[in-house]
């Protein structure tokens, strides 16, 4: 009897796991089916077109996402590595405890709240929406993950290397620059890519900062389109054509995000 109950429970847990997997496979299947059928060369080389022209693509959104995400990543990587180094160099000081708390507070901040704050700080003062504001909003979302993750990575530096460096008489700055950073090079690259995967799908911070644009815009000081924004706009529109484009965009986005996060699976749990 006990063994039977155990078996029943095992089958129950297995079936729940299979149920969730089926939903995922369902999502991916429909995404690929609808995405592939509307994916064509035009999708990459044309900007948005009005409804009825039976063409149009995501060129402006892809380029916009590229620019917005690269600027955001520049801000994130620069600030987070320094922030992570601070946590690593002064581990038990009051300031670093406060920094850790404020990072976990920022991590919990709703992304849309980051968006409207950047709207007030940047968009209001500049007078118009801009891709740069979108980057800053995305940076606000990405910084906490990367600060906490990079601190964990720095603390993995072998003590042996550190002691060897110090015994040569190197100053702390030099130890950090030549030993700690060098040792953490590849893990840092990995977590930057993971942070990129995380912010690439964020839509809420971009809604009122980058705002979206139907035309190709390469100047980050002007309103810019981004892939997730374009998906959102097309998804809630009433036109079948636009829906198809949204599916193709979603396929591109998810291919990018999933591939990145599955390749770097080993580092996934850092910074959470």
């Amino acid at each position: 009897m006990r063994v039977i109950i155990d078996k029943i429970f095992q089958i129950f847990t297995l079936s729940v796991a299979i149920f969730v997997s089926i939903i995922l496979i369902f999502i991916l299947f429909q995404l690929i089916k609808d995405g592939i059928s509307s994916l064509s060369l035009n999708f990459f080389i044309e900007s948005a077109r009005p409804v009825g022209s039976n063409s149009g693509g995501f060129k402006q959104a892809i380029l916009g996402s590229l620019i917005i995400d690269s600027i955001a990543m520049l801000i994130i990587v620069f600030l987070s590595i320094l922030g992570g180094l601070f946590l690593y160099v002064y581990p038990e000081t009051l300031l670093s405890k406060i920094l850790k708390e404020s990072m976990s507070l920022l991590q919990g901040t709703p992304t849309i709240v980051c968006g409207i704050c950047v709207y007030y700080i940047l968009v209001r003062s500049m007078g118009h929406f801009s891709g740069l504001a979108g980057s800053v909003a995305l940076a606000l979302v990405g910084i906490p993950y990367m600060v906490l993750a990079s601190e964990q990575i720095f603390s993995m530096t072998p003590t042996l290397l550190l002691e060897a460096a110090y015994s040569l008489g190197l100053s702390r700055t030099r130890v950090i620059l030549y030993v700690v950073l060098k040792f953490a090079k590849f893990p840092l690259l990995a977590i930057s890519l993971l942070t990129l995967a995380r912010i690439a799908g964020e839509t809420a911070p971009l809604l009122f900062t980058a705002f979206g644009n139907s035309f190709l815009e390469l100047n980050p000081l002007r309103p810019m389109a981004a892939i997730p924004l374009q998906i959102y706009v097309y998804a809630i529109s009433p036109y079948d054509e636009w829906h198809r484009l949204a599916w193709a965009g979603a396929l591109i986005l998810i291919a990018f995000v999933t591939v990145l996060s599955l390749i770097l699976g080993r580092y996934r749990r850092l910074g959470e």
Binding site: R2, V3, D6, F9, Q10, T13, V16, A17, F19, V20, S21, I23, L24, I27, Q30, L79, L82, L85, F86, V89, L95, L99, S102, L105, L106, G108, T109, P110, T111, I112, V113, I116, C117, Y120, L140, V147, R172, T173, I176, A197, A200, G201, E202, T203, A204, L207, F208, F211, I231, Y232, A235, I236, A250, I254, V257, T258, S261, L262, G265, R268
Partner: protein
């Protein structure tokens, strides 16, 4: 030490300036980062001042959303936000607890790796994509499920209503799906905190895995589960895109589980760009402030519980 290296290392002015400049930079960045959440709070607060000044406490007493007449009731989106979070958290726990148990006790090797990948992949789907999927593949079919629920449980007042493709129910389904991976990972972490030797002692007594789970694992992780509940509650409440796409955007209290309504996040996402008056915009910032505080408090409760429980671990 050779003279040359000694010169590089100990050349006083160089060493001094280099050293202090870098550390100064570190400190500056640290202070900058500390100020980010404070800055967010201050911006939200400053911007919601006009609303607080003009409307005062009336936002908490009216159930009305009429931007033209400057009548805004915050209480219904607030309640809906909390309700969505709570329902999704508990629905999600019902699915994620078995998955976590399956992953830690009933599977090994490839099977475990496969299901872990599924969970990871589910976690990495952007919410706008899930929303897109739900608009075209969940919303059109959701009324059948809603009819079944209404026929079976219609005697409960809140479950009796007209089915609608976009509304509370659709949102809850999708948000539950989004919370499952987060909860699964957290519960798996909790299970790893159970002392290994207790589990092994249990097995050596000849107990089955189910008995171990019921009499050892579940009591052990019970308190930690409260923290998991609060963490996923915060995640559920702050979710924006899928909610904004699916909930229907009718900023009034829902008549039933199926009717369209609005949460704090969905109102901000849908109305911020078209706020036409100063008070309107300010009310939206106030919604943001309320959301910020709500999520902050929930997260802090979760962290306090975790810290109290697992101080040593």
């Amino acid at each position: 030490m050779p003279k040359k290296i000694q010169n590089i290392v100990n050349f006083p002015p160089f060493c001094l300036s280099n050293f202090s400049l870098f550390e100064l930079l570190l400190k500056l960045v640290a202070v900058l980062l500390i100020f980010l959440p404070i800055l967010i709070f201050v911006v939200l607060f400053i911007n919601s001042l006009p609303a607080i000044y003009h409307l005062g406490f009336s936002v908490f007493t009216t159930n009305n959303w009429d931007p033209v007449d400057d009548k805004f009731g915050v209480i219904s989106p607030l309640l809906v936000t909390v309700m969505v979070g709570v329902i999704c958290t508990f629905l999600g726990l019902m699915l994620s607890t078995p998955i976590a148990l399956f992953l830690s006790f009933y599977s090994r090797g490839r099977i475990s790796a496969f299901f872990s990948t599924v969970i990871d992949a589910l976690a990495s789907i952007p919410s706008v994509v899930l929303g897109l999927w739900a608009i075209f593949y969940v919303a059109p079919h959701v009324d059948k499920v809603e009819n079944v629920i209404r026929d079976l449980f219609g005697f409960i007042p809140f479950l009796k209503g007209n089915p609608s493709p976009f509304g509370l129910f659709t949102t809850i389904l999708i948000l539950t799906l989004m919370l499952i991976p987060i909860q699964t990972v957290l519960i798996k972490e909790l299970i790893t905190l159970v002392p290994r030797n207790l589990i092994e002692a249990g097995f050596s007594l000849g107990t089955t895995k189910f008995e171990i789970v019921r009499s050892l694992i579940l009591p052990f992780i019970k308190k930690g589960m409260i923290a998991v509940i609060f963490l996923s509650l915060a995640r559920g409440m702050e979710e924006t895109m899928a909610t904004a796409m699916l909930i229907g955007n009718r900023p009034l209290f829902p008549d039933s589980l199926f009717s369209p309504t609005a949460t704090l996040t969905s109102i901000i996402a849908n109305e911020f760009a078209e706020a036409f008056s100063r008070i309107y915009l300010s009310v939206l910032f106030e919604l943001g402030l309320i959301l910020f505080i709500l999520v902050f408090v929930t997260n802090v409760i979760a962290k306090l519980i975790l810290r109290l429980l697992y101080r040593g671990v």
